[in-house]
Every structure is written in C-alpha cells, then in structure tokens.
Amino acid sequence: MQTVNVMIVGVGGQGSILASKLLGTVLVDCGYQVKVSEVHGMSQRGGSVVTYVRFGDAVYSPVITKGEADYIVSFEKLEAARHAPCLKKGGRIISSSQRIDPMPVITGAAEYPDGVLEELRSKGVLVDELDALELARSAGSAKSVNIVLMGRLARYFDIPMEKWLAAIEKCVKPQFAEVNKKAFMLGCDG
C-alpha cells in the first residue's frame, strides 16, 4: 500500500504527544510499519508544534514535506492554516475551532486571520472543523481534546472501533481510560 501521512499540529502544551502515541499504537496493532516524529524542547513553550505520523508497508523518512500529507489534524485554526502547504491534493484538514492568539497578535504586531479555514475550503481543501474543546469538556475533561481529534480522524480510517478503544487503554492511565474513551466516541460521532 501507499504510505499514509498524518500531521498533528498545534500549540506547545496542547497534548499532541499523547495523540501521536495513540495513533502510533493503534497503527502498530493493525500491523503497519509506523514512523512517528516529534520535536521536544524549546518548541514546547507555547510555540508551534508538529508531529508526523507515517504508516504503510515500508516507511523510510520520518518527516512529511510539502504536498505530502493525507490528513492534517490541528488543535488550533491558525496552525492548520500554517501547515496547509504540506497537504496533498485532495487531502483533508481536521481542525478544532479553537483560536489561540500567538504573541505577535497579542502585542498587536500582527492580525489573526479569522476566516482562514473558509478561505482554504474555497480553494478546494476538504476541511472538517469541530469544537473539540467543547466536546472534550462534555466528555468530562478539557484535556482530552487530543483524543476527541483522534476520534474524528478515526472516521476516515478503516480501523475497527475495538482496536482504537484497546489502544486508548494502553496509552492512558487506568483512571483516565473512561473519560478518554468517551471523548474519542464524541469526536467520532459528534
């Protein structure tokens, strides 16, 4: 099979590492060869963060470059737009509707491009926008935005639900398994 490329993007501290852990785990359980690449350190402090997940029969490079991503899963609208050039023709953006102002916007040095997802949609990009924060809150924890987004991504994958739920159990502490399973289902169905 052709390698499938997923980018998980957001703002440092939003929980992209757990999202990629869940995705990597379920893909390994499905028998794929998987590569996950993340960047730690300086970028964690409220900066723009990117994680690459690639899977298929034989995966070499750990990174995804321009025009290669099948999916961009974003915790934040501006970050979805920032990484849109990486999207493959016909690729899909899944973005939470959350807006987090970067420092240049806070200080007034730059404008936040509010309608940027609509703009991408008008150019033919498939955009699936959801209020992942609200769905996470209704699942019982605002922190499970990452799992809500993985739930939405699961819609587009042919992976049985039991495998996803089993992977959640492997990736989170037992006391958080239920809330995260609920968050996943809300992301998938909500």
Binding site: V11, G12, G24, T25, V28, Q33, V34, K35, V36, S37, E38, V39, H40, G41, M42, S43, Q44, R45, G46, G47, S48, Y60, S61, P62, V63, T65, K66, G67, E68, L78, E79, A81, R82, A84, P85, C86, L87, K88, K89, D101, P102, M103, P104, V105, I106, T107, G108, A109, A110, E111, Y112, P113, G115, V116, E119, L120, K123, G124, V125, A142
Partner: protein, 581 residues
C-alpha cells in the same frame, strides 16, 4: 516482542540489553530522554551530573572499574566533555564506554549547528551513526563490543530526527556481565608524558585497525539499485531521505561506522557507479574524505551545510517533480515559543527591561526573555558564559558598565558552568551583580532534577546545594534572595546591588509554574469600568493578557492565568482584580 520506541528510548533499551551498569549525563535536547528512559531500568545506575565533563569522567571511572558505562549529551555538551574525551582516546577502556551525542541540525532547541563528527576525527575514536530506532538499539550493543575489542571509547551520533522519531524495535534480553577484576595499570591509565607518548602510536594503529574493520563490517553496506548511473554515500537520517525520494533507482553505500571511513569500500563503490554523490547534513565530512582519496563526487556544491534535509531536498537536487501544494493567501503570523503565564522569570526581566539594564544571558528557558516586549537580553553564548562574560564586560567598561549591567543564569546552568565564573568575580574583585534565576528545576529540557533541587534522577531525596552559602563560600559577601513575583522587592534589590562597588549575587527564587507541586491560584480578571486601555500590563509579554478588539481594553484568559499577580502590581488604576467579575 516489538515496541514503538523513540530513538532515545531505543538507546536506553540498548544500554539495558548490553548489560550497562553506570550512566551519567547532563540533560540537553535532543539527548535528554536517553538517560530518563535508562533510569527506568533498576539494573542500571543512572544519575544527572552537574555537567557533561563530570558525566564523561564518571563514565570513565566506571569503565576503569570494569563495568560498561555511558554518558549522553547534546552536541554542545561534547564541547564541555571534550577534555576527557581526547585523553580517553589514549587510555582506552576497561569495561566498554560509549558517549552518546545528539546533534541538532536546524537548531530546533540549540544555539548552534555544530557537527559532532569532527570530534570523532579529532579525538581519533570510532563513531557510529544509526538511521532509526531499531538500528539505534543494535548500534548500542555493537558500540560496546567495539569499545572492548579495540580498547577505545566509542561515540554514537544521533540527531533530532533519529532521537525524537519512533519506529518498531524488537526487544531482547539483557546480557548480564560480571565486572572485570580491577588491576592497577599505570602505563595505560596515568597519562603523564612518559606513558602518553607510548599510547599515541597505539591510537594511530587502532584507527588503522578500525578502518580495516569498517571495510567488511555489516553496518557499512552497499545496496545495489536498478541502475548504476548514480551512487550515493550516506548515513543516518539522510539514508532514509534518499530511500524515500529515490527508492531502488540508485545504488547506495550506507555507512554505519562514520569514523574511520572504509577507503577500499568507498573506492569499490565509486568504481561501480557513473556518478558519485555524498549526501550528509551539516558539514561535508564524508565528502572531504572521499575527495582526499582522489575520487570525484558531488556533495556540498549541491546540498546545503545549513539545517535539516528531507525527501524534498533530495527530489529537488535530482530534478524530480515535487507534489502539488497550496496555501492560504492570508498572512499567517508566526508563533514563537514564549515564557509561560506565571513564569517566575518574567517579573525580574520586567524590572531589568524597565531600568534599561544591560543583561548578559545564559542557556535555558530564560533565553526567551530576549523576545519582545521584554527584550531584556543583550547576549546568549553558551552554558555559564553570562557570569564570566559580565566580569569581562565590567572590567572593560569600568564603573559605568558596573552600575548598569547584570547577568542572569538559571540554577541548573549555574551548577553546570556558572560557579567557576563566580569564583573569578570574587577572586578578581569584580564589581559585578550576578542574578541567579532559581526556579528549582532544569526547565527547558523538560524538568530534570539538579544538585540544587534536593532530589535525584529517580525522584528520591538528595543533598541540595545551598546557593546562598555556596556564593558566600567563594567570597561573595553581598548575597540576597528575592521573590520575582514581588516587583518592588526585585527593583530595590537590583538597584541597590548595582549601586554598590562590590561583587554581589541576587537569587531570584520561585519554582517553575509548570512543576506539579506548584498549585495555580485563581485567575485574575480585568475590571472593564476601571481599565482605560493604557497597555501597561502588556509590557510583561504574558500570553494570558491581550487587548480586546472591541473596547481596546485589557482582558485576561482565565484558562491560562495562574494568578501570579505580577500584572496587578503594574496596573496603576487597580483594574486587574482577583476572582470573577
């Protein structure tokens, strides 16, 4: 059993399987997780050392005593550990010893883009470079075999894309090794001239034997492609980019041992292809060697010495088409990293910025104090350079500089390399004011304990350095502690110490707001009737405070605010208040 593992986790697994007993390191992105994961194995003694030189020497001592040992560091850490490295090359080892060094092309979290391969060549020690997590684990075990067989420390070179990428790794059992019996061996281990002179020929002869080993070692392999038109020599992550972009259409010489390089194998490969390329990130190290053999090759003429490569770099160089892509027309503002809401460094930086003080900075989260609107820093060089640099700055600038300049250095960085600079300040009667930003943790690398925190790598209670007493003991008479959440106290301390013609230390002490035991206070809020939109609070550069688009008044994001109350002290109108409105 196979497990998805970070390159760094795979290294730690390799340490476990290779029967390693002692690991000593100083944290540094992207190498930190090697030691963190190793510490999870009870069979391995692990520690955070104050710096990389200490760590390498601890590993040396363990090797001398006959067990397998390791130390891990980022590329610039090897500068600090270079002193023991160069002579360890002469002494060789008892138990196997491996140094893990992680380069950071593209400087995701570093102050430079140096290429560690130069150290392997300069110190005349073998260097292995894995291309993914699975290979990383295998190379660890091989590194110990080579270390003991050739009587040499071995360097394993990582880079960000190997250290922080995950792939499946096969788990195997640990090889339990008995420590070697300790025998005194002055001719090998006392590197006084009479002995060292005899060891140098051994080092040269060892390099020749290692080069011979590399000629037929499995880790240097030729992968024949469908055509012999193009041949590519590569190692590490570049191998993955080449395979991704060009597949089996080209022949590849994939090097696992990147120092010393196998001359005959390279010649054989070069002779088998029409055009030879060397693809390597950063410097043209392999290319230089290939050229020295009199072989024609293309390398840095086409491939940049700057930053990271990718499959797109390779496609471009070989004239292949790039996939289509599109972007939004709207301008996308950058999102640089920032100091967290409630960061204890912010209050002190505000005072320094407000008083237009020259600030020599250091390495850590507080480097972010250089960003607008605080723009508080004048320099950042390397670990500890703020303290020694300030002394030089003041000696050159005299009383004018002394009254207007300070340095800032974190608690962990002060332990690493700041103490000797402070000794110099006391000893050479410098009228310098050193500010230690003590947030009780090594912050930037993700919360590692250090000698000031009172806990060791396992989280068990440990002896804690008393910074005040340490500073007094080296000869600083004026030592005071302030709370950076109290702006008045900070300002008074800074202005008073600058006014005194004596060395002084101000310890700005408050734990990092991200530490689990630090409980946030309720969010503050802006009283919209009192706020006039003067933007005083905006001078702090706090990510929780912004200006409302509609009424142009300040607002506080309650999900980010931790109630540090620093902004409240700035608001002359009392518009920033506790609790919901």
């Amino acid at each position: 059993m196979k497990k998805l593992m970070l390159g760094n986790e795979a290294i730690a697994r390799g340490l476990y399987e290779a029967g390693v007993r002692v690991v000593s390191s100083y944290p540094g992105t992207p190498s930190t997780e090697i030691t963190e994961f190793a510490a999870k194995y009870d069979e391995i003694y692990c520690e955070w050392a104050p710096n990389e030189k200490v760590a390498a020497e601890v590993a040396f001592g363990a090797s001398l005593r006959g067990v397998r040992s390791a130390c891990a560091m980022k590329h610039v850490g090897l500068n600090v550990a270079a002193d023991p490295l160069f002579t360890l090359s002469y002494t060789g080892v008892g138990g196997g010893m491996v140094i893990f060094v992680a380069d950071d092309p593209a400087m995701h979290s570093s102050q430079n883009e140096q290429d560690s391969r130069h150290y392997a060549i300069a110190a005349k020690v073998p260097m292995l470079e894995p291309a993914d997590s699975a290979e990383a684990k295998e190379f660890v075990k091989l590194a110990y075999e080579l270390s003991e067989r050739f009587d040499t420390p071995v360097i394993v070179r990582m880079c960000t894309r190997i250290a922080h990428s995950q792939c499946q790794v096969e788990l195997e059992n640990r090889q339990e090794l008995k420590p070697l019996e300790y025998k005194k061996n002055p001719a090998k281990y006392i590197m006084a001239p009479a002995n060292a002179i005899k060891r140098h020929p051994f080092v040269e002869e060892r390099t020749a034997r290692l080069r011979e080993y590399g000629e037929s070692a499995d880790i240097n392999r030729i992968e024949r492609g469908s055509s012999d038109r193009i041949g590519i020599i590569c190692a590490g992550t570049c191998y993955q980019y080449v395979k991704e972009a060009l597949g089996d259409s080209v022949s590849v010489l994939k090097l696992g041992l990147v120092n010393p390089l196998p001359d005959r194998l390279i010649r054989k490969f070069a002779a088998s292809v029409e055009k030879l390329y060397v693809i390597e990130e950063l410097d043209g190290v392999i290319q230089g060697h290939v050229s020295s053999l009199g072989l024609e090759c293309v390398g840095k003429e086409v491939f940049s010495p700057l930053g990271e490569y990718s499959q797109a770099t390779i496609r471009e160089a070989f004239g292949l088409s790039q996939p289509e892509s599109l972007s939004a027309d709207s301008e996308i503002p950058v999102r640089p990293p920032v100091m967290c809401a409630g960061c204890p460094h912010r209050g002190m930086f505000y005072i320094l910025s407000k008083n237009k003080i020259t600030v020599l900075g250091d390495i850590g989260c507080y480097t972010l104090g250089s960003a607008a609107p605080l723009s508080a820093l004048d320099s950042t060089l390397c670990m500890g350079a703020s303290v020694s640099g300030l002394h030089g700055f003041n000696k050159a600038g005299g009383s004018e500089a002394e009254g207007r300049s300070v340095c800032v250095i974190g608690d962990s960085t002060f332990m690493h390399s700041g103490i000797t600079g402070l000794v110099n300040i006391a000893y050479n009667a410098s009228n310098s004011t050193v500010i230690i930003l003590d947030n009780s943790i090594t912050g930037m690398t993700g919360h590692q304990q250090n000698p000031t925190t009172g806990y060791n790598i396992k989280g068990d209670p440990a002896a804690a350095v008393n910074l005040e007493e340490l500073c007094r003991a080296v000869g600083i008479k004026r030592v005071r502690v302030v709370d950076p959440y109290n702006l008045k106290e900070c300002e008074a301390a800074v202005l008073e110490e600058l006014a005194v013609a004596e060395p002084s230390v101000i310890i700005s002490r408050r734990p990092c707001v991200l530490l689990k035991y630090v409980k946030p206070k309720p969010s503050l809020a802006v009283d919209r009737d009192k706020c006039v939109g003067c933007r005083m609070c905006m001078r702090l550069g706090c990510p929780a405070i912004s200006i409302d688009k509609e009424d142009k008044k300040a607002k506080i994001d309650s999900t980010q605010c931790v109630g540090c109350e620093v902004c409240e002290q700035l608001c002359r109108l009392g518009a920033i208040v506790k609790g919901e409105l």
